[in-house]
Amino acid sequence: MSRFLLPLTIFAVMVGFLAVGLTLNPREIPSPLIGKAAPAFSLPQLHDDGKTLSLDDMKGQVWLLNFWASWCSGCRTEHPILMDLARSGVAPIYGMDYKDQKHEALAWLDQWGNPYQVVAVDAAGRVGIDYGVYGVPETYVIDKQGVIRYKQIGPLDDETVTKKILPLIQELQAK
């Protein structure tokens, strides 16, 4: 009897996995960088070519790094949420203008508002590669020691911000 039950057993196990699989998003790739030091960079600022922004400038604070571009539609979607976050002042948001035209980026910020403390320009997308960016917008939460604690792939939404990001920021700031 047992060997005749074997196919059924295999099938049952498979159905179990498929059921769990339905709840997962196959397109989302967890970043191996979480828990690791944020890659260093030093890039010109969007509003002032002469100055640079580098990773060390943010040491000692909990901050958000947001990769965006004026050509990216998801960035428009999440923009109001970033503006709210910036207004609330929980943590500074730094922008990374990813593979963009300078004048278009400036115009975009003028039109929709600027939630960023400083915007750095990653014209060639190299810093993006260092951070494992594969689709803007992407947002990183980085702690006081410069370690990446969280990565959001795709636009931020209210639920993620209130349930994940804000509590995480408070926790990291308390340390």
Partner: protein, 660 residues
């Protein structure tokens, strides 16, 4: 109004399917012939109802009725009529309707060709098919109704995904589904036999042609899909081991095993339990394929319509249908007898070994396809399992199967002798070895894989020749022509299908071994040489299609100064979705394809261009076509025709031959 008729027809079809799926099976159990008699009329009625629904949806597409949500989502007023009709199966809801429609076509066919079956058997078969149909109709009516209205109506449709606007779209899905769903007949036969407890030679004889026909459709469907991807996706690949491809390949592998296992059950009464399990497996894998494609649990280049919420419905359905049938199998199969005995070295032995290899290969493909999902579900990280994995696992598993394919037909049933076999194939082996070693050297390059490919292809063909020669010796009288014609069609069909594999292997070997590619920057008048052909770029011009604008490049291809072809690759922008598509240009030939695809525009009117020379690539699909033709030829054998159509005087001789 018309869409509502279609919707209503689906509701009625569900009612009929419920009747068809319950009463005849009950009738067969209690021996009530009035209940059993319901099966055929119910199946036919269901066919006409689903046909009506299908026609209504077709009408909605043809008449550009954008008040139907599904029509508005998958077509556009500028889409040409044939693509509007193909858009019926361009997304989720319509694909399901096509699936169900094809299921009812197969049901209808069963009612037409089953008049000679015992009534209980026929009732059970149609009952099981009716139950499968219930699931799909219920699915459509509850969560994915193709006739759902959009109020207010859209002014313009969102258009069919440009990737799908291709002649391949018209043919590939119906063919593939004919294959997938066709296995439901073998499945229903197997369940009916389990329910009735009459797993005998007659059951196998009846199932065989149905299974073979479904297998032929599936073969052609897969080949069409592969060919379509080859020219449409624009990078010249023909098989990517993508989840959706694997989803169609697994039922094919299981179906191939089933076709062979049925042969043993039919002729020798053996492998009954195994055959039943394979029949369940082949159809289960078809259902699993539908689930994988439709649910979005895996990402794919070919998955165009996915929705995890609906995935839950299909998964539950899958659990009921497959789980139920495997439970029935576990319950009834132990009582089935063993069938005839045979020696380890015998045709049965070889066929069984081949079956094991095919099933192991199916398992390997399944494992590779689902493994990323397993890891993800256990939260152990995300990985990708791609062509390098499948190539390195699949080749060693299938190589012995191809080797056995040569010996199998030569071995006697019941008991064969290795020394005798070895003697009969010695020159076949010699010729194959020589070809394997010599041909790559002649062609100017030697790699182990090249040799292996030529060895297997040559082995299959030469052993087929040996087989024909030996068979002829048994046919008495007449010239060579008449004697050849005397051999049964089933036998020719088998050989042809096997040779199709050989042709396929040659294609794969040649493409993998000798294809060349150039990624170049071409300005006006620049030339590049690939595979001995010189491509000259004569610039681009703008052209307009019915629903797209395009940049079309002109390439003059010449060899030794003689013009071979003019190629016009395009870069199309489809207006409705503002999507850019690369349309490769191909000059096809028996021994090579020349393939040009436009990349991106560069400065000064230059373009980045990809040029490929692909030797023998068409043999890949040609081989599949030959396999399918072989299957068709086998089905046309007179032993499958109802007795009254057979010429009585030929039967004994033929039965003797085929039974040897």
């Amino acid at each position: 109004m018309i869409p509502e008729i279609g919707h209503f027809a689906l509701i009625l079809a569900l009612c009929v399917a419920l009747v068809q799926g319950t009463l005849p099976i009950y009738g067969a159990a209690v021996g009530n012939s009035r209940l059993m008699a319901l099966a055929s009329p119910a199946a036919r009625c269901q066919f006409f109802l689903v046909l009506t629904a299908f026609g209504c949806l077709a009408y909605a597409f043809a008449s550009k009725d954008f008040s139907v949500l599904y029509v508005a989502a998958t077509s556009n007023s500028q889409l040409p009529l044939h693509y509007r009709l193909a858009a019926i199966w361009g997304a989720h809801e319509g694909s399901l309707l096509l699936w169900t429609f094809i299921l009812t076509i197969w049901m209808f066919a069963v009612t037409l060709f089953s008049s000679h079956l015992p009534e209980a058997m026929r009732s059970r078969i149609l009952g099981v098919m009716g139950l499968v149909s219930v699931g799909f109709l219920l699915f459509m009516l509850s969560v994915s109704n193709p006739f759902e209205r959009l109020i207010p109506a859209a002014v313009e449709g969102r258009d069919l995904n440009p990737l799908l606007q291709d002649p391949g779209m018209v043919l590939h899905p119906p063919m593939l589904y004919m294959g997938y769903v066709g296995f439901s007949v073998a499945f229903a036969f197997a369940l009916a036999a389990l329910l009735g407890g009459n797993l005998d030679a007659a059951w196998a004889r009846w199932s065989r042609p149905w299974t073979t026909v479904a297998w032929c459709f599936l073969t052609i469907g897969i080949a069409l899909g592969s060919g379509w991807a080859y020219y449409e996706l624009g990078w010249g690949g023909w098989w990517f081991w993508d989840p959706v491809e694997n989803a169609s390949f697994m039922p094919w592998l299981a179906g191939t095993a089933l076709v062979h296992s049925l042969a043993v059950t039919d002729k020798r009464g053996g492998f009954k339990v195994w055959t039943v399990l394979l029949a369940i497996m082949a159809f289960s894998l078809s259902l699993l394929g539908t689930f994988l494609v439709r649910s979005g649990v895996l990402t794919s280049v070919h998955a165009f319509a996915t929705d995890p919420k609906r995935g839950l419905f299909i998964l539950s359905f899958l659990a009921v249908v497959i789980g139920g049938s495997l439970l029935l199998y576990a319950w009834r199969a132990p009582r089935v007898g063993l069938g005839g005995g045979f020696a380890p070295v015998s045709r049965e032995g070889f066929l069984l070994a081949n079956n094991v290899l095919l099933v192991v290969a199916t398992g390997a493909v399944l494992l590779g396809t689902l493994y990323p999902l397993f890891l993800d579900a256990l939260d152990l990280g995300k990985i990708s399992v791609g062509p390098p994995y499948f190539d390195s696992v699949f080749v060693p598993l299938i190589t012995p199967a191809l080797f056995l394919m040569g010996v199998g037909p030569l071995a006697q049933w019941k008991k064969a002798e290795i020394p005798d076999l070895a003697k009969r194939v010695r020159w076949a082996a010699g010729v194959s070895m020589l070809t394997a070693l010599g041909l790559p050297i002649v062609l100017g390059e030697w790699t182990p894989l090249l040799s292996l490919g030529f060895l297997l292809a040559c082995w299959i063909v030469v052993t087929a020749v040996v087989s024909v020669r030996e068979q002829l010796a048994h046919v008495v009288g007449g010239g060579i022509g008449t004697r050849l014609a005397r051999l049964p069609r089933a036998y020719w069909g088998m050989l042809l299908a096997h040779c199709g594999i050989a042709v396929f292997v040659v294609g794969v070997t040649m493409v993998k071994g000798f294809e060349t590619e150039q990624d170049v920057r071409m300005g006006m008048g620049d030339v590049a040489t690939v595979g001995g052909y010189t491509f000259r770029f004569d610039g681009v011009q703008n052209v307009r299609g019915p629903n797209y604008t395009a940049v079309r490049g002109t390439f003059h291809v010449s060899r030794d100064g003689r013009e071979t072809a003019l190629l016009y690759p395009e870069k199309r922008r489809y207006t409705a979705q503002n999507q850019v598509m690369t349309e490769a240009a191909i000059d096809s030939g028996v021994v090579r394809d020349l393939y040009v695809s436009l990349g991106e525009p560069l400065e000064d009117g230059a373009w980045s261009v990809r040029l490929y020379h692909k030797p023998f690539v068409n043999w890949i699909w040609g081989g599949c076509l030959i396999m399918a033709l072989g299957g068709a030829l086998a089905v046309s054998d007179r032993r499958y025709r109802p007795a009254w159509r057979r010429e009585p005087q030929v039967v004994p001789a033929n039965a003797q031959l085929a039974g040897r």
